[in-house]
Subunit: 274 residues, 2 copies
């Protein structure tokens, strides 16, 4: 058990988006090692079916198990919405997603009980945020809006741009009209559009970043299970490992932009063999 403390944490996403969660983990529990897997050969998940996303997530969990991780974070809203329940049953390793921590925080923050959620077609279509929020606070009203162009805009680096402003205005107009006071950024890419979204939706709306909440919940979980790494890392900061299913070089470039961390190498895994 003592040794297990020093095992890494497995984190996965369909691509680079989950790195916003890794960034929070690095910040909030800096002693922890991360093994990250980005499914860049099959990205995006947000337009795919429940069956397909679940199959992909199961393969990745098997890969992470083989890396000896002590906990798994599903750092993808689509995979958390579609597959978390199934994954929990299939693995003995503690596993958390991003939907529940984000929903929990929104319920704590809202004053008028009107909560907005933005995400991929899959995440919004799954209605996982409304379902979970309803169990926490039956009075809360949840208004969801799919924003399918946000991910490609993030991946094009157009984090602040007049075009992104215009697209955001179209997507967010319904949410503005509905009078929400809290908005969940329900896709791990979206924290990178935080400034644009805040500008369009207005300062009166509190943005919830599930990446931050997930890292906090992970810390609590590790503390409770006595799995928190108490060994300081010293000067060797390159302890994290990054795996992808395709395009290692391209991933490294975007990953270093998001993490502001010097990733030395990224390895390609044949994930469909898992």
């Amino acid at each position: 058990m003592e040794k297990k403390k020093y095992a890494p944490i497995g984190v996965f996403d369909s691509g680079v988006g989950g790195l916003t969660v890794v960034k929070e983990i690095m910040h909030q529990i800096p002693n922890e090692k991360v093994v990250y897997f980005g499914d860049t050969a099959r990205v995006p998940y947000g337009s795919k079916s429940k069956e397909t996303v679940t199959k992909y997530a199961e393969q990745i969990v098997r890969f992470l198990e083989q890396q000896g991780v002590k906990a798994i974070v599903v750092a993808c809203n689509t995979a958390s919405s579609y597959a978390l329940d199934i994954l929990e049953k299939e693995t003995d390793i503690p596993i958390i997603g991003v939907v529940k921590p984000g929903a929990k925080c929104a319920v704590e923050v809202t004053r008028n009980q009107k909560i907005g959620v933005i995400g991929t077609d899959a995440t919004i279509g799954s209605k996982m945020y409304p379902k979970y929020i309803e169990t926490l606070s039956p009075k809360a009203e949840v208004i969801g809006k799919a924003c399918p162009l946000f991910c490609p805009l993030v991946e094009e680096g157009m984090w602040e741009d007049p075009v992104t402003d215009e697209i955001a205005r179209r997507y967010l107009v319904e949410l503005i009209d509905s009078g929400i006071d809290t908005l969940i950024l329900g896709c791990t890419h979206y924290p990178l559009l935080r400034k644009t979204v805040q500008k369009i939706i207005g300062e009166q709306v509190t943005l919830i970043n599930p990446a931050y909440e997930t890292a906090r919940e992970l810390k609590e979980l590790l503390t409770k299970e006595n799995l928190l790494n108490d060994q300081e890392r010293g000067l060797n900061t390159n302890i994290h490992q990054f795996y992808v299913s395709d395009g290692a070089e391209k991933f490294k470039t975007i990953a270093n932009m998001i993490l502001k961390y010097g990733i030395l190498s990224t390895k390609v895994v044949q994930i469909e063999n898992y």
Copy 2:
């Protein structure tokens, strides 16, 4: 041999884009049956590596072989750029891509020998259009420009929209400045943006739609090999078959928008098993 005439033609793409080629086939050689495969579980190809795209294309060719097709059309510029040479060696079935027919037509049309090509990151990065155009016309100058947001905009149905105009202006400004008189729509999604692209680039530039040229080359190939179906179809128009790797219902909706054809059913195939 006589029976082989009545076999279907296999056509594939990463998703719905290749249907612009199917539309041309239906129009130019209406007696032919089409078996279409759209790799919707792994779409898009344009941001993925040569190795990954080649592996995916090989699996699809094996699937189409099992459907008893008499010819195969790689109705995807990325797969044609990365994998056609390899696929040609691996199958006995006549196989054509979209790059060569598009390049050939551009060389015939240009007067000032300045040809533009727009496509995905992969297609432009592969330099397959410039390479092939150079062998046909060493004097021609080819200016390529990747337009990664065009595909998501098409899939969002934003075929004519002020946002699409603005994105097109940014992508096409270099091509306008370079004085091209011919522009290849080097992605099977792009014919759906034809009006926008023509408006921004100006009427003096001739747009080349490789889908049209590919159907023409297919007809020539079938005629030469004595494989053209001479049996009229009569009133039964629902003879084509559509397969995808994910999201059959969603595919059907967009496919009927593009083809203006009543697709009755779309079947899901576990393509990684091929």
